[in-house]
């Protein structure tokens, strides 16, 4: 079957989609967006977290057909999504741009291709092997969108569906606190 939906602000079309396929598979294998990670395939680890109509979900548990006509934001579109939130408009992220994406953010570049939460993860050293990072970023970004001044308990709760197996979560907590603090300064 064919699935038409919006991915990172741009209309996309996926063809030859098997009816039992997950949204995660469509994103990774049909659209070539490997940012959302495939680990547990049962909603345990959160590494495939995307926004579906604004709501964080495990894309491995969304049937491809359920995404028809919906709006999806993946980690590849997070910078664009943050820009849209801040400025009201953003151009969206094309598939080519998403595929060519490199983590170049340094904090100085006004056109940095990083969302503030991504920059904070880099600055706080919250990335180790990086596999859980995309899911954490999407979940953390959503938290900060709705709760600009989260308590530690809020952060733990919001990230409770995202597993990191490298280490503890302290640097990740630091990163979210940092992003929140910067967001507060900017406002």
């Amino acid at each position: 079957m064919r699935v038409n939906f919006t991915v990172n602000g741009r209309p996309q079309e996926a063809d030859d989609v098997w009816e039992g396929e997950s949204l995660l598979y469509v994103l990774r294998e049909r659209l070539g967006l490997p940012g959302s990670k495939n680990a547990c395939e049962q909603g345990e680890c959160g590494s495939c977290t995307v926004r579906l109509d604004g709501v964080p979900v495990c894309s491995c548990l969304v049937a491809a057909g359920q995404a028809e006509g919906r709006d999806v934001v993946t980690v590849e579109g997070l910078a664009d999504h943050a820009r849209r939130r801040a400025c009201g408009t953003a151009p969206g992220t094309s598939l080519d741009a998403a595929r060519a994406w490199q983590p170049r953010g340094t904090g100085q570049d006004a056109d940095a291709e990083l969302a503030p939460v991504q920059q904070a993860f880099i600055d706080a050293g919250a990335v180790q092997c990086g596999f859980c990072t995309p899911g954490l970023l999407v979940a953390a970004d959503e938290l900060l969108e709705h709760r600009p001044n989260p308590t530690d308990a809020d952060i733990r709760e919001a990230l409770s569906g995202n597993l990191c197996r490298c280490t503890g979560y302290e640097k990740i907590m630091d990163a979210v606190r940092l992003a929140a603090a910067r967001q507060g300064e900017g406002a």
Binding site: E19, G20, P56, L61, G65, G161, N162
Partner: protein
């Protein structure tokens, strides 16, 4: 596999009548796991996410009509006052991502003994609104669970809503697992005090082939509270009564040994949860009595 995408409830019922083996999918938090792991290959997937009614709820005089697909997140945020037990249970479901998708309809459809909503529904009192092209019926929650992952639905029926009795007293829910998030219950316990009818209802999860009520324990406690005039005098419940209640709740279990825990641990833990939830709810009842009567 065919992906059926009804735009309305009527279309969904027609599709289910035409294809009784179709597997309904809403949040997908159970169904997609089965498909991802190749545990099931349904001929038809019946997507219910286009049907807006299923995401709505109505608060009535006696009960809340909860649409089958109202996500757990919404129950936690919006129905804590009316359905405190179910709201607490909802908060123990998996993770935010899962709670954003999953709902009580799916929990009932899957009918796993470990489903988090079941003990809360049993304790509060509920009816499942099941519908097919043949008509609508309301299945009392006590008759709904018929076996391990089996329920009273006919092959052509879909769950449209659950009518959950509004709380008339304190309710509690507790669950045992290895951590707070992402836990399938080792066992779970729901307790609801019903001061209006001077009764107590329970729900036990993950400790028998189906979710069950601990009826003997309920009857014992109701009689003991009545006899001691506890509902009126609001005194602390006699420890021996609490212990007997906990023992009877443990006795209502018929658990198995599995990867999550042994049968004897489950039985023990259900007793502990019963004692704790009774203490919490009773303290809360005493507190509200003091407030309403203005005593110090």
């Amino acid at each position: 596999m065919d992906f059926l995408r009804p735009a309305s409830w009527e279309e969904a019922l027609a599709a289910k009548a035409e294809h009784p083996t179709a597997v309904p999918i809403a949040g997908g938090t159970d169904v997609m796991v089965e498909i991802n792991f190749d545990h099931c290959r349904p001929e038809y997937l019946l997507d219910l996410t286009r049907i807006g009614d299923l995401y709505e709820w109505e608060v009535g005089d006696e009960s809340v009509r909860l649409g089958a697909s109202v996500p757990y997140t919404r129950i936690m945020e919006r129905l804590r006052g009316e359905l405190p037990g179910l709201a607490l249970a909802s908060h123990t479901v998996a993770s935010p991502q899962i709670r954003n998708r999953g709902g009580v309809g799916g929990n009932l459809g899957t009918a796993s003994p470990a489903g988090d909503a079941h003990p809360a529904l049993l304790a509060a009192g509920a009816e499942v609104e099941a519908e097919s092209v043949r008509g609508t019926r309301r299945i009392p929650i006590d008759d709904f669970y018929t076996g391990v992952k089996r329920n009273a639905l006919a092959p052509d029926e879909l769950i449209r809503a659950v009518h959950v009795t509004k709380a008339d007293g304190p309710q509690q829910y507790a669950k045992v697992g290895t951590r707070n998030a992402m836990v399938i219950a080792v066992c779970a316990f729901g307790l609801a005090l019903h001061p209006r009818t001077r009764s107590v209802r329970t729900g036990v999860g993950s400790a028998a082939p189906t979710p069950v009520r601990a009826r003997t324990a309920e009857e014992f406690l109701a009689a003991a509270l009545d006899e001691g005039g506890f509902w009126e005098n609001g005194k602390v419940i006699t420890p021996s009564v609490v212990k007997q209640f906990a023992d009877l709740c443990a006795g209502a279990c018929n658990p198995i040994d599995d990867v999550r825990g042994t049968a004897s641990y489950r039985r023990h833990a259900v007793g502990v949860l019963a004692r704790r939830t009774l203490t919490w709810t009773w303290e809360s009842y005493r507190g509200s009595r003091r407030l309403s009567e203005g005593a110090a």
